[in-house]
Symmetry: C2
Subunit: 374 residues, 2 copies
């Protein structure tokens, strides 16, 4: 008879899957601080400081930078629903689950989506994008996934904005699995709208989606002829609460997830204490350390250009997918991810994100894999 699973207190897992990543004790402690009201001056100060810290981590001066009250997919939907009007043509890079989702989300906003496709594991090239823009010159927005969590592919973004802006379109980026772990320069790279999640390289529990909108995006929103189809994610109202912008001062919209804001505030504090460059370098080092160990075991990578934060690897011939992951969880308390979409049963995903990207975890997961796979 299987041992019943306790619901009384969660086990202390080592989270090396595609997210959530391990949460530092400091962040859990912040999460459990006394709940304030969402209009309390002290809460507004904490929220303002959280937004200021987000600007540093996004490397942007965008005033409209705040955490959406939902997980990463709510951020994707926030960007799509505010920047797209029914009938708009858009281009989306599709080379994995999250690009496919972006296409789906934008179609639900009434967009005609032209997909620029690459094989799973490959990235979208600037040449592909340029050709697509030439073929569809009336495109209003281009959406690309920076860190494709389903394949581990690391999408280059430098130079893309120039091509997009030359057509008068907006450049929107999914940075759920890269923010705080990879180089990502919102202003320098000309990104007009971006969203991320808290539970990846920021090492905060899931529940918020940091977003940032630049001037071009604001101009587009201000010129809308139709109401945003989502009330909950309507930036024309959210900006009045988060920045006091848009006229009329700070106005209540919805009750923000107070305690999650404390946790994000603390998690971002940790990122900035370490220093963004140091943190990005640490992610690169830990990726190389893991990669060397895996390749020594004969295990190869799915993507040609791998993320540092997420290692998508081929399941070795003869290995039992679910059985291996179950043994890692039960015997070692280590979570790694299975394959997603067409990669199900073919790939594992080992995340080294934020607080989880340590020598201790890399050497442990390698040792555990050696033991379980022998």
């Amino acid at each position: 008879m299987p041992h019943p699973i306790s619901t009384a207190f969660p086990a202390e897992r080592i989270l090396l899957g595609p997210g959530p990543s391990p949460v530092p004790q400091r962040v859990l402690r912040a999460l459990a601080a006394p709940t304030l009201g969402h209009l309390d001056p002290q809460y507004l100060a904490i929220m303002d400081e959280t937004c200021a810290r987000l600007r540093e981590v996004f490397q942007t001066k965008n005033a409209l930078t705040f955490p959406v009250s939902g997980t990463g997919m709510a951020g994707m939907e926030c960007v799509a629903t505010n920047l797209i009007e029914p009938g708009d043509e858009v281009i989306v890079g599709v080379n994995g689950v999250f690009g496919s989702r972006m296409k789906d989300v934008m179609e639900r906003c009434g967009a005609t989506v032209h997909a620029v496709e690459a094989a799973w594991g490959d990235v979208i090239t600037l040449e592909q994008l340029t050709a697509a823009l030439a073929a569809h010159p009336h495109v209003k927005l281009v959406g690309i996934v920076h860190a494709e969590t389903s394949t581990g592919a690391h999408q280059p973004l430098e130079g893309f904005a120039d091509a997009v802006h030359a057509h008068g379109a907006l450049f929107a980026v999914d940075a759920v699995t890269s923010l705080g772990g990879h180089e990502l320069r919102v202003d320098d790279w000309g990104i007009d709208a971006i969203y991320s999640g808290t539970q990846k390289c920021l090492s905060c529990p899931p529940g918020l989606s940091p977003v940032s909108f630049g001037e071009r995006a604001l101009t587009r929103m201000d010129a809308r002829k139709t109401k945003v189809q989502s009330w909950y994610l309507d930036v024309s109202m959210l900006r009045k609460y988060y920045t006091g912008g848009g006229g009329g001062g700070r106005v209540y919209h919805h009750t923000a997830p107070i305690n999650m804001t404390y946790a994000l505030h603390e998690a971002l504090g940790i990122v900035l204490e370490e220093g963004l460059e140091n943190r990005i370098a640490r992610h690169a080092e830990m990726h190389l350390r893991l990669r060397a160990g895996l390749e020594a075991m004969g295990i190869g990578y799915v993507p040609k250009r791998s993320l540092h934060s997420l290692n998508c690897i081929h399941i070795p011939a003869g290995a039992d997918d679910a059985g291996t992951r179950r043994r890692l969880l039960e015997e070692y308390g280590i979570e790694i991810g299975g394959g997603l979409g067409v990669m199900a049963g073919k790939a594992w995903r080992i995340g080294l994100m934020g607080h989880g990207a340590t020598v201790r975890n890399v050497d442990l997961v390698l040792a555990a894999l050696r033991e379980v796979l022998r």
Copy 2:
């Protein structure tokens, strides 16, 4: 020079506004438990138990009962976006801010909304609803706010479902400020879809919105001709994660707010330990105690039929609205709410919700008001 507001650690407020309500230490401790993965068997067990507890509190057998990954307004949007298709006619009761919002949210879903209106502070009568249904016989859904947080009006619901179902329409209810503090019988009262929030009478931090859908609602969703416009809130996918329903077993949709689920699990445990009937009786008693104290001070209520969980009162002649609330906050650490919408500057809102509905808090806020108003 004003004392700078610390962002280091939140003050211990006594939250007697319109929400969030005070969160018990047990719930904060659960919130800070180690983060599990969203597909971890232990997390799924905690989530399943959370949904089972929600069924008890909603007094329903509905399999599709789960917490939406957003605050209460996300729950409203989830109900609207899944049950409405563009062109549908619906009826909404409008007698305050949240009825007005429901109208707005449903219009954004493409509905033609027939508003049944009552003065702010009044409730919608069954006669009004019956007349509206007779005037608009093709209505697909009727939405009503059980607890109008802007006016404190307590909407009766008994008998409404029969009128709605006689026209083949669905009955949807906003129970954000009543769930866990007022009598609310989803199955007995024939409610087809309902949403609430965690931060009111459940005394959990904000961040999740419990929802429940009955068989008629599921049948309506299964018969949709159009995709739900929100991917994030699309129940046809969410049900596969939360119940394994709809075929194909349990499927990943989005990363759920893990730690918030722990908190809700614990908060619901506290509700069920106290007993739903005892808890509802406690809210009634504390309301009467507060009401007697306020009326002894000459302060009257805005609604004719007041909620127990939220007391919306007239600001006494000559009293300084913002100054009084500021003194309560600064001198006593007590938060009460100002008026919302047309009640701004005219009303205060004193919440006695969940963990906050105690003799200690009632007598304290009465004493503090007596002092500040004298």
